[in-house]
């Protein structure tokens, strides 16, 4: 009970300290983002910021509607993408089906696949009909797919205008007692689309008819190549959880200096409860941190971390390892003035050994991947790599066990040293 009170007090302090908050959430996301852009262009798999031509592969399933000079939304979209104005920016290739288009992206032969759904033209002319243009970007890119998405959205926004025109036309005819046949509505839509093309006008705020889909939302296992950003972000999560673990343990040293720890020792509270409270606070802070970072990074960078149970298992193991390691490192620190330098050097060194900062760099010597496993950070990184590759819980048992074992060992030694200090 008292241990929980102590834990809540510590957690409150952590969440009230701006520096800690930045280290928990801001820094890892920011650094991952920056590294991503830097490495993205360096490793060649990425994009150039000076906009080379974007390879677009289009599967137009809307072709079925092309008959009798009717309204063909798919064709219009392709025409739009191939228009002279965009010829510098886009190279459009038409393929027969969705599978081919996505294979082009997966095989790095195209940057984005655009899938025009079968019923797109019908959307314009049939009230209540729905269909969505789907984009499949290369997951290692953000800018190129963004541009294509913007262009397609521009077109579709105008297209939604056509839909509205058709619906209103239909309603007006019906209001006057004339049944509005499909031919009539198509005419209205075509006229509207023609007007749109000549004026270049498009509307804002229509229903989203374009959907940019990250590769794994289709329910398939996470793709093997989850991309550079996932690796970089994984490294940042590991580094900053170990950082926050050590910062949490610093509260023992800080409270000793501020006199609140000695004062706690004068109250009828067992020392075990005090240490347990501190450890619990660190665990809770790490749980919050990891959860926020996983969710935020999947929202911002579109990373799929793996299967739920696997991600959960790895997160728990990482939490225990980072907290235990923090207690261990801080048990050697005599004053808060030493905290900065000690944490900086120890965590950077072990982080480097663990390979946290070399994520996304190709052709790392095999030996290095073995050396990684000397430190818990290396095991944590391995666990994330496996999870990202779609491993099930059984697949990560070894790194998870290693993390738990190391974490508990570090905790035991650190706790022993602290107990001796306050004996």
């Amino acid at each position: 009970m008292k241990a929980l009170d102590i834990a809540m007090r510590d957690l409150l302090h952590t969440l009230r300290t701006p520096f800690t908050l930045i280290m928990m959430f801001g820094a890892p996301l920011l650094i991952a983002g920056l590294l991503f852009f830097a490495f993205g262009s360096m490793t060649g798999g990425g994009e150039d910021l000076d906009l080379q031509t974007i390879q677009v592969t289009v599967a137009n399933l809307d072709r079925a509607e092309v008959q009798g000079g009717g309204f063909a939304a798919g064709e219009l979209l392709i025409e739009f993408l191939r228009s002279d104005d965009l010829s510098d920016l886009l190279a459009v290739e038409i393929v027969d089906d969705e599978a081919t288009a996505r294979a082009n992206v997966a095989g790095q032969r195209a940057h984005v696949a655009v899938i025009i759904p079968g019923g797109l033209s019908a959307v314009a002319t049939t009230p209540g009909q729905e269909a969505t243009v789907v984009l499949y970007p290369d997951p290692t890119l953000t800018i190129a797919p963004g541009i294509v998405q913007d262009l397609v959205s521009q077109f579709i926004d105008g297209f939604a205008g056509a839909k509205i025109t058709a619906e209103i036309t239909g309603q007006q005819f019906e209001a006057r007692g004339v049944p509005a046949g499909p031919a009539l509505l198509q005419g209205a839509a075509t006229q509207y689309a023609g007007w749109l093309e000549t004026t270049g006008h498009h509307q804002e705020g229509a229903d989203p008819l374009v959907d940019l889909r990250p590769p794994a939302t289709e329910g398939e296992p996470a793709e093997q190549d989850a991309g550079i950003i996932a690796g970089i972000m994984g490294g940042m999560i590991v580094f900053f959880t170990f950082f926050v673990g050590a910062m949490g343990a610093e509260s023992i040293v800080r409270e000793e200096e501020e006199g609140t720890l000695p004062r706690l020792f004068t109250t009828p509270t067992p020392r075990t409860s005090i240490l347990a409270g501190k450890f619990t606070a660190i665990l809770l802070a790490l749980v919050v941190q990891i959860a926020v970072l996983l969710v935020a990074s999947s929202l911002i960078f579109g990373i799929t971390w793996g299967r739920r149970p696997t991600v959960l298992l790895v997160s728990v193991a990482l939490t225990v390892a980072a907290a235990g390691f923090g207690i261990f490192v801080m048990s050697f620190v005599q004053s808060t003035r030493q905290t900065g330098p000690v944490l900086g050097s120890v965590l950077t060194l072990t982080g480097m050994l663990g390979g946290l900062f070399t994520q996304g760099i190709p052709n790392i010597p095999e030996l290095f991947n073995v050396v990684n496993l000397v430190v818990p950070q290396g095991w944590a990184m391995r666990a994330w790599d496996l999870s990202l590759a779609g491993a099930g819980p059984a697949g990560v048992l070894l790194p998870v066990a290693a993390l738990l074992g190391m974490g508990l060992l570090f905790f035991a030694v650190g706790a022993l040293l602290f107990r001796r200090r306050f004996a």
Binding site: D5, L12, T260, F265, T266, P270
Partner: protein, 344 residues
């Protein structure tokens, strides 16, 4: 059993590496009294208290608080004492109420009883109006009061205060001294450490004087003053030509040899050099600047000694420029016993 005393200390020792911080300290504190531990910086007061609060393990010896051994019944000891540490020990990011709430829980209070005690304590320490904002914004005096309040929450049998009035304004000090006496009237036994002899004199039933780890005197205020008996204390200012330390040293030497002089001390005084301003001060014997240094003497009968002092001063080329004859007090007792002043 040791139940007759609130605190009973038996041959307590504490050694840090080379330093013997506490040497063979024994003392008894009666239930319901205010007991002061008076001593200069580094005397070993805090170290003694830390052992009583089970913060430090004694190198040797034992002590009993409300009959519980500090070696073997630590939880019982901790439950029966409230410790007010010398340095303020509060969570600065929390409010006064949040601090009291947290510390109350550490003393095992919960729920309605906790809330009630927090309200009472806030009232006692005069912070009921300031219970909301973070303690970081408090004045030194307010922090000191809250620091004391934390130790009152569980209504301890024994309240231990370690120099609670250091570094605060006279009004807050008055407030704290009054409160301590009020807690005592309500039945709390108080162990109070200080290096202000006025405080010890004012509030204590018994006083132990501590120096260099040892208790060098113990008794009521009157009993202690009896140690110096009929002695008078003279504070005087000596003026000498600047830079002529040897004149002053020689004079002190001469005075120490006088029959009725028991102690001569320079401690607690500093030498001040002044430019002689008015022409009247510029006698042929003196240069433009003058060193003024204070001295404290313990003498048998000041009326008989003073003429000798003036005479011998003039003989070596010094002057006595002020004289103050004091009643004997604890300061004099300390001087008598150690040859040094309480305050450095």
């Amino acid at each position: 059993m040791n139940d007759d005393y609130a605190i009973r200390v038996r041959n307590l020792y504490k050694t840090f590496d080379e330093v013997q911080a506490v040497r063979d300290v024994s003392l008894d504190v009666r239930p319901g009294e205010i007991f002061s531990l008076l001593g200069p910086n580094g005397a070993g007061k805090s170290t003694t208290i830390s052992m009583l609060a089970c913060l430090l393990e004694p190198t040797a010896g034992d002590a009993y608080v409300m009959g519980h051994s500090i070696l073997h019944e630590q939880m019982a000891v901790k439950s029966s004492i409230g410790v007010v540490p010398q340095e303020i020990a509060l969570y600065e990011d929390l409010s006064a109420r949040e601090n009291l709430s947290f510390w109350g829980k550490m003393y095992g209070l919960r729920g309605e009883r906790l809330r009630q005690r927090i309200d009472e304590v806030l009232e006692i320490i005069g912070l009921a109006q300031r219970q909301k904002g973070p303690v970081a914004n408090f004045s030194g005096g307010m922090k000191r009061r809250l620091n004391i309040g934390v130790a009152l929450l569980h209504r301890p049998d024994v309240l231990i205060l370690d120099e609670p009035t250091v570094g605060i304004d006279p009004q807050s000090r008055r407030n704290i001294l009054d409160s301590v006496q009020e807690f005592n009237r309500q039945g709390m036994t108080v162990l109070y450490t200080t290096h202000y002899m006025e405080e010890a004199q004012e509030i204590s039933d018994h006083i132990a004087i501590m120096d260099q780890g040892e208790i060098i005197a113990y008794g009521t205020h009157d009993e202690l003053v009896q140690i110096v008996g009929e002695l008078d204390r003279i504070d005087l200012t000596l003026s000498t030509p600047p830079g002529q330390e040897e004149i002053r040293a020689a004079l002190i030497q001469t005075w120490r040899q006088l029959d009725r002089v028991h102690q001569v001390s320079t401690a607690g005084h500093e030498t001040i050099t002044t430019e002689a301003g008015s022409p009247a001060e510029q006698s042929p014997d003196f240069e433009a600047a003058v060193d003024h240094s204070g001295l404290t003497l313990l003498v048998g009968d000041s009326n008989l000694v003073l003429p000798d002092l003036f005479e011998t001063a003039v003989a070596v080329g010094a002057r006595i420029t002020s004289v103050d004859i004091q009643e004997p007090n604890l300061e004099a007792v300390f001087l008598h016993l150690t040859g040094r002043a309480l305050r450095d």
